[in-house]
Amino acid sequence: MKLITAVIKPFKLDDVKDALKEAGITGITVSEVRGFGRQGGHTETYRGAEYKIDFVPKVSIEVVVDDGVVDAALDAIKTGAATGKIGDGKIWVSDVDRIVRIRTGEEGIDAI
């Protein structure tokens, strides 16, 4: 089992969610996050003073999938989140040791 984490542009969340659903993914976890990458920050003005926003708002999504579905899920996120402009985000994949469904106590693939 793998944990797929993706940091994407907030307004692409719906597209990514739809693409993942189409790929057969049954659940995702979403968080509002902030950070910077190569895009860097931007400047805003407030009451006549300029200031720099170093940490740009992004959305982070987490999906746990069976090994065989990883490529399909990655493709779905890539397609859904891409605008072709700087700041589209990143995806990374890591191993997952155990999963437990709280309600039933099921473990492993059954719990996904």
Binding site: E44, T45, Y46, R47, G48
Partner: protein, 461 residues
């Protein structure tokens, strides 16, 4: 509904309306209110309701332009201003402002609204004592709450309360006594025996707003800037507010309230009321337009927080002359207010007076401008001036302008000294500022034991 309204206006049904406003306690037996009397009282009362709601506007502007960690403290200060303001004005403030047994410096008599005719106003009449007090007391609450914004995010709540009490009980009432109360400024005459030249400040650009603005300046000065506002190399750093929608809703509420503030100050229901309301509207939109133009040209962005200040600046500017100006000059005076406010805000940042909401500029500086503008633009007799064409551009001469400037000087010096001593005193006794730790954590939890936006942790059981 229409039928009922028509009946009330048409004499016969007026009796119904009269009964409705007649309290069960005894009053002068022979007095029968006219329909006009009833209209006067109801209108001025409703105008007072609008002015009272400005408290919500002040609270929202201040909360929106500051950080989420201090939002409880800001609403606490603003509700305290309403509570303390009305109570203090009821107990002693109104007596110091209008009590008939005083002298030119301070009024006396009728504390707690007792003592019958201490104010020379009937319990019922063209404007009853209760209507007059209600309207005046919400003005007092306005004058005190102006300082709150300038001192936001770092002032001890208990110390702020001490300021609020003294401001509403003594300092603001003395300014009112000198002017609307007939005291020393009201007795200045820069004219001749045949043609007196006396002060005018119809709804209080100087008496209310400049007074509040100067208290705000002294407060911001004595409490010092927020941590992080000015960096060590002397640069001004933006501390963005946490809710622009709050701030702008606050501006709209204040704007609405001003249609009670200025037209209500006519203290009568007559055809001056809509004219004053239109002057007020024209100044507000001109102020907003002028500020937009200036800040857009200056920074390349139509800065919304500034535009809100610009509308309020237009409103403060017209508050003195809303009865004396014509429509076009109302727009001009409001627009000049909108230009002044931008440079005033930038100026106070430069001299490191940290005013998170721009209260010193909007109310203090533009309040002075509005008071002065009478001497330049007054066209009509607003019942203070006692003559037409008092303004410089209508050939009224320098006397009016000089008198308005003198009035600004007297009020300015008095309020600066009085509030300066007050803040210095509070600082010595109680401390004015929260600890560094508390300022960084936010005042909400450490000062009030409550978060403004706590996570929803209530269990379902």
């Amino acid at each position: 509904m229409q039928n009922r309204a028509l009946r009330i206006i048409s004499g016969l049904g007026g009796v119904v309306a009269v009964l409705a406003v007649t309290p069960s306690i005894g009053f002068a037996q022979e007095y029968t209110p006219t329909t006009q009397d009833v209209l006067n009282n109801i209108w001025v009362f409703l105008a007072g309701v609008l002015v009272f709601f400005m408290q919500a506007g002040f609270a929202l502007v201040e909360a929106g332009l500051t950080r989420a960690k201090n939002v409880v403290n800001i609403f606490a200060k603003n509700i305290a201003d309403a509570i303390v303001g009305v109570l203090a004005f009821f107990a002693v403030g109104f007596a110091f402002a209008y009590g008939g047994d005083g002298n030119d410096i301070i009024g006396w008599g009728g504390f707690f609204l007792s003592g019958g005719d201490a104010f020379g106003i009937a319990e019922e009449g063209a404007l009853s004592l209760s209507t007059d007090f209600f309207f005046q007391s919400v003005f007092a609450a306005t004058a005190v709450t102006i300082a709150s914004g300038a001192m936001a995010e770092r002032t001890k709540f208990s110390s702020y309360l001490m300021f609020s009490v003294v401001m509403c009980a003594v300092i603001y009432p003395i300014v009112v006594h000198w002017t609307w109360g007939g005291g020393l400024i009201a007795q200045l005459d820069f004219g001749t025996e045949e043609e007196p030249v006396v002060f005018s400040d119809f709804a209080g650009s100087g008496i209310v707003h400049m007074t509040g603005g100067i208290a705000a300046l002294m407060g911001a000065f004595f409490v010092g800037p927020r941590i992080g506002k000015y960096s060590e190399d002397g640069k001004t750093r933006a501390i963005p507010g946490h809710s622009i929608p709050f701030a702008m809703l606050g501006v709209f509420i204040l704007w609405l309230g001003w249609f009670g503030f200025n037209p209500g100050s006519e203290l009568l229901a007559d055809f001056e009321v809509p004219r004053i309301a239109l002057n007020t509207m024209l100044a507000a939109v001109s102020g907003g337009a002028a500020t937009t133009a200036v800040i857009w040209a200056k920074t390349g962005k139509p800065d919304i927080a500034f535009i809100g200040n610009g509308v309020l600046a237009g409103l403060v500017a017209i508050t003195a002359g809303c009865g004396a100006f014509n429509y076009a000059m109302s727009a001009v005076v409001g627009a000049i207010g909108g230009v002044i406010v931008v440079f005033a805000v930038l100026f106070f940042d430069k001299i490191k007076i940290d005013d998170p909401v721009g209260a010193i500029s909007v109310h203090g500086v533009v309040g002075a401008w509005g008071t002065l503008a009478i001497g330049i633009f007054a066209r009509y007799d607003d019942a203070f001036l006692g003559r037409e064409n008092a303004g410089l551009i209508y050939g009224g001469g320098m006397a009016q302008l000089a008198l308005q400037a003198t009035m600004i000087l007297i009020i300015g010096v008095f309020v600066a000294v009085a509030t300066g001593l007050l803040f210095a005193g509070i600082k010595a006794i109680n401390g004015l500022r929260v600890s560094e730790e508390e300022e960084i954590e936010g005042l909400d939890v450490l000062e009030h034991g409550l978060q403004g936006y706590a996570p929803d942790t209530v269990s379902s059981h």
